[in-house]
């Protein structure tokens, strides 16, 4: 498999969210706006790339029986790095992502890539695989966040998109349900249906 294919498979063909349904907890929880979705996606991408590199480096030193706990420790270390640096440099984003930053450690996508890809391949392909899958995850979260923000708040990345009728006072009449919990399930359901159709044609 060429490196380009290795990189691009995470976007549509093997997309973590839309096709493999991995990492659904952060996907649904933090995508109330496009910005939160992108932030979460990039944080996960960093953990994914670094964990893939380290796992692929040490794969021959780790006995087979303790490999899963070892992978979890490697992942947890990078999650802690992301958690602390985000708290220091991006306190607002850190506050809105909240408990889901430490919970990257139990994101099945990260452990899944470490086990299924990085423990069998060399450093170069593992890094590219992590980057591709991570950016595909970030793409999915940003798309979901953008759709929810547009329908629920009438904006994308905080920029107003005037598609809704406005009240006398000028405030847009939006469908608030989409930024609340139920909207996450519904929008993801329709996005998966659309992606399935696109893949078929």
């Amino acid at each position: 498999m060429s490196q380009l294919k290795n990189f691009s498979k995470g976007f549509i063909k093997d997309n973590a969210v839309f096709v493999q349904l991995l990492g659904l907890c952060p996907t649904l929880a933090v995508t109330s706006s496009a910005e939160n979705g992108l932030g979460m996606g990039l944080a996960t991408t960093f953990v994914l790339v670094m964990a893939n590199i380290v796992v692929s480096l040490v794969k021959n030193q780790i006995p087979d029986k303790v490999r899963i706990p070892s992978f979890i420790v490697i992942i947890a270390s990078f999650v802690t790095i992301v958690d602390l640096s985000m708290a220091g440099f991006l306190p607002t984003l850190h506050a809105s992502l909240g408990i889901f930053i430490p919970l990257i450690v139990v994101n099945c996508l990260v452990l899944g890539r470490a086990e299924a890809f990085a423990s069998k391949n060399n450093i170069g392909s593992s890094a590219i695989d992590g980057l591709g899958m991570g950016l595909g995850f970030a793409f999915a979260l940003t798309l979901l966040g953008a759709v929810r923000e547009l329908l629920g708040a009438g904006s994308i990345f905080g920029l107003d998109i005037p598609i809704f009728p406005v009240t006398d006072k000028g405030a847009p009449i939006t469908m608030l349900i989409f930024v609340l919990a139920p909207g996450a399930f519904i929008v993801l359901g329709y996005l998966i249906a659309i992606i399935n159709q696109l893949k078929k044609s």
Partner: protein, 190 residues
């Protein structure tokens, strides 16, 4: 009164699956049949309560006195992983029937974010040990209610004439959305 508020809030108002999005993987994964949903609920309840107690003790008696709070994520996940393994071994020896019923679900629980999430939330909300245990039990009940209701809905969905493109996961997600909407009716209760 405080306790009552924690129970109602964890089961209905801030339902762990439908409102806080913790434990979505088992919620989608094992809710195809009612019986597996019940089994999963049993395993989650068991591990969630015990894991919350263990992580609470670690936070209070190890991490805080030594001021190494930054090791929280690493130590919690290791403790939960080791703990699940231990439960599996003990259960196999002590109670084979229970192991038969819960066994297949136990390995899945390590990466169930509901377990880790409840452990972290107990610390974040600065509950004491008793409140933490009650919070864990109520969260597990909330998880059970959500997943069992959803399994019932999905069993009916199989018999419905769903449009071709929406079959499978998409319609299940939309149904979960409607279920979440129903749970929103409880907001403001506490």
């Amino acid at each position: 009164m405080e306790i009552f508020a924690i129970v109602i809030s964890a089961i209905l108002v801030n339902n762990i699956v439908l409102m806080q999005f913790l434990g979505i993987c088992p919620f989608m994964g094992v809710s195809k049949k009612l019986s597996t949903a019940v089994g999963m609920t049993g395993a989650v309840t068991f591990v969630m309560v015990l894991a919350t107690i263990v992580t609470y003790l670690i936070q209070t008696y190890v991490l805080e006195p030594l001021s190494i709070g930054y090791l929280q994520t690493i130590s919690f996940i290791l403790v939960i992983a080791a703990f699940v393994q231990m439960v599996e071994i003990v259960l196999k020896k002590v109670s084979p029937p229970l192991y038969q019923a819960l066994g297949v679900f136990l390995p899945l629980i390590t990466t169930n974010c509901a377990i880790m999430g409840v452990a972290l939330l107990t610390i974040q909300n600065s509950y004491n040990l008793m409140e933490g245990i009650i919070f864990a039990i109520s969260s597990a009940i909330g998880f059970g209610i959500a997943i069992i209701l959803f399994a019932g809905i999905r069993e009916h969905l199989d018999l419905m004439g769903v449009p071709k493109g929406m079959r499978g996961t998409p319609i299940a997600l939309v149904a979960a959305g409607i279920l979440a909407m129903a749970f929103m009716g409880f907001s403001g209760l506490v």
